[in-house]
């Protein structure tokens, strides 16, 4: 018991001291979960973990290079076009908004105190946030560089050493509690693993569908918007709304008319329906059984505490809490039944 208290306190102190490493460690854990079926497959072939994990990372690097060489130039081109045109486009949207508000005020002058006019909201939001100075820019780049280096580094060692870490922990656990405590962990491990792999696969499918649909509707930046839709899809409820709004804004800015807006909205509604009824049951499946109210509540709390990262991890964290409580209650009920049975046996005896 003393060992566990000292260990938990030690881990908490270390986590606080190295809190800057929490994000890379968390992302590395996600990556390890994502790749665990591949490692399971190589384990079944009795291939040494270090060899298997090294080969998997080399293959990922190769795929990344291939992706960068084929789709990368198109994404870079779309991004640079967007960045070039953004100030002019934002100004155009502001002008259009001002015109619309002016028309509205002419019809209803009472709204003058409520509606903003000539504020340039969109320009302020999208354009007037350049890095304040060079130092800040390099700081941001440094953070990204650290993530790019540290995440695969942590994930490599996590995947390579996981069996020995687990055996070490198992041998430290008190013998009589191993079965139940490890059963809870195994169940959570299964749920979280399925959820993370499901979410990534779901994001890939949704992103691809969005990119193809937008390309078919001749909306500009289909690749960028598709990638955004896939990434945003990780956030329940809010993600699809964000990606739909971004695509609608692009349509509005490029003066594709009301018909264009309707077509894009229909596309995103269809993708959402297909996602909910076909893709999610096949990818995420039965891994998450959260009530919609708890799901939404966890996303709001996640956003409040950790921002975008909080919204992303809200569902797995809520699932872990719910499953832990359910398993512990189930264990307590079984123990209570055992207590009742033995006292009944004593009475009969």
């Amino acid at each position: 018991m003393k060992f566990w208290i000292v260990s938990i306190v030690g881990i908490a102190v270390l986590a606080w001291l190295a809190r800057g490493l929490l994000l890379p460690a968390f992302l590395a854990m996600m990556l390890a979960y994502l790749l665990s079926p591949l490692v399971g497959w190589t384990d079944a072939l009795a291939i040494r973990r270090s060899v298997a994990v090294g080969a998997i990372f080399s293959a990922i690097l190769l795929l990344g290079l291939l992706f960068g060489l084929t789709i990368g130039p198109r994404v870079v081109a779309e991004t640079s076009t967007l960045v070039e045109r953004l100030p002019a486009t934002a100004a155009r949207v502001d002008q259009a908004l001002d015109r619309a508000i002016a028309d509205l005020l002419e019809a209803a002058p009472v709204a003058k105190n409520v509606l903003p006019h000539g504020e340039g909201w969109i320009s302020k939001l999208l354009v007037s946030h350049p890095p304040e100075d060079v130092a800040e820019f390099f700081e941001h780049m440094g953070h990204i560089f650290i993530l790019v280096i540290l995440v695969p580094f942590f994930a490599f060692f996590l995947m390579r050493d996981m069996p020995s870490i687990i055996t070490g922990i198992m041998n430290r656990l008190p013998p009589q509690h191993v079965e139940t405590s490890v059963a809870v962990w195994r169940e959570l491990n299964g749920v979280v693993g399925r959820y993370i792999r499901g979410v990534v696969l779901d994001g890939l499918v949704v992103g691809t569908l969005a990119a193809l649909g937008l390309w078919a509707l001749q909306v500009p930046y289909p690749l960028l918007l598709g990638i955004f839709a896939g990434v945003a899809n990780v956030i329940p409820f809010v993600g699809p709304l964000l990606s739909g709004t971004a695509a609608t804004l692009v349509v509005l800015v490029h003066a594709m008319g009301l018909g264009g807006v309707v077509r894009v909205l229909v596309l995103f509604v269809v993708i959402k329906v297909v996602d909910d009824t076909v893709i999610q049951p096949l990818t995420i499946g039965r891994s998450v059984h959260l009530h919609p109210a708890i799901l939404l509540g966890s996303v709001v709390v996640g956003n409040h505490t950790l921002g975008v990262l909080g919204m992303i991890i809200a569902v797995p964290v809520a699932t872990i809490v719910q499953e832990t409580v359910r398993l512990l209650l189930q264990h307590r009920r079984t123990l209570a039944r055992r207590g009742l049975r033995s006292s009944a046996e004593r009475m009969v005896g």
Binding site: L45, A46, I47, R49, P175, Q176, V178, V182, R186, T334
Partner: protein
């Protein structure tokens, strides 16, 4: 498992522990008849723990959540009776116990204790279920083996009852 198939110059890529595990499991009556590929997949789902002499592995009445296979050492299956503790069976390397946990969550019908330093492979029901969902053939073979084991336990129990009834009071 693959040592015979890989060229010598690639032998360093083989994990000796994992390579030993699958043939070891093939000798257990519960996993007999599983093809090599599936034994390999099954073996990755096992966790490992070493118990000291006298350590309780589980108590009678505990919720059953895992199956155990003895790698080395001896395990006693015990049951509390009005006259005290009674050792039902002594199990050795290669034997499996707690297999009923793979079927239901019912409480353990007896306790298990390590008689000496014992290394066990542990397969949790969650992992077993996940594997069965993805590989129907594993489910078929193991359930058939499990049915045979249960039938043999039932016959042993019937014989024990008959013996007890024939003994003079």
């Amino acid at each position: 498992m693959l040592e015979r198939r890989v060229p010598r110059w690639l032998a360093w890529t083989i994990d000796p522990e994992q390579a030993r595990r699958a043939p070891f499991l093939a000798h257990s009556p519960l996993f007999a008849g599983l093809p090599r590929r599936l034994l390999g997949r099954l073996s990755t789902r096992f966790l490992e723990k070493t118990y000291g002499p006298g350590d309780m592995i589980f108590h009678e009445g505990d919720p059953g959540r895992a199956l155990f296979v003895i790698v080395s050492g001896t395990v006693e299956i015990i049951r509390a009776t009005a006259r005290g503790e009674h050792v039902l069976r002594k199990l050795n390397a290669g034997d499996a116990f707690g297999e009923m946990a793979l079927i239901d969550d019912a409480p353990r019908s007896g306790g298990a204790r390590a008689a000496e330093e014992t290394r066990l492979l542990i397969l949790y029901k969650t992992d077993f279920d996940a594997l069965m969902d993805s590989e129907a053939h594993i489910a078929l073979v193991i359930m058939r083996n499990l049915s045979r084991l249960l039938a043999s336990y039932a016959r042993q129990n019937a014989a024990a009852v008959a013996r007890a009834e024939s003994e003079p009071l």
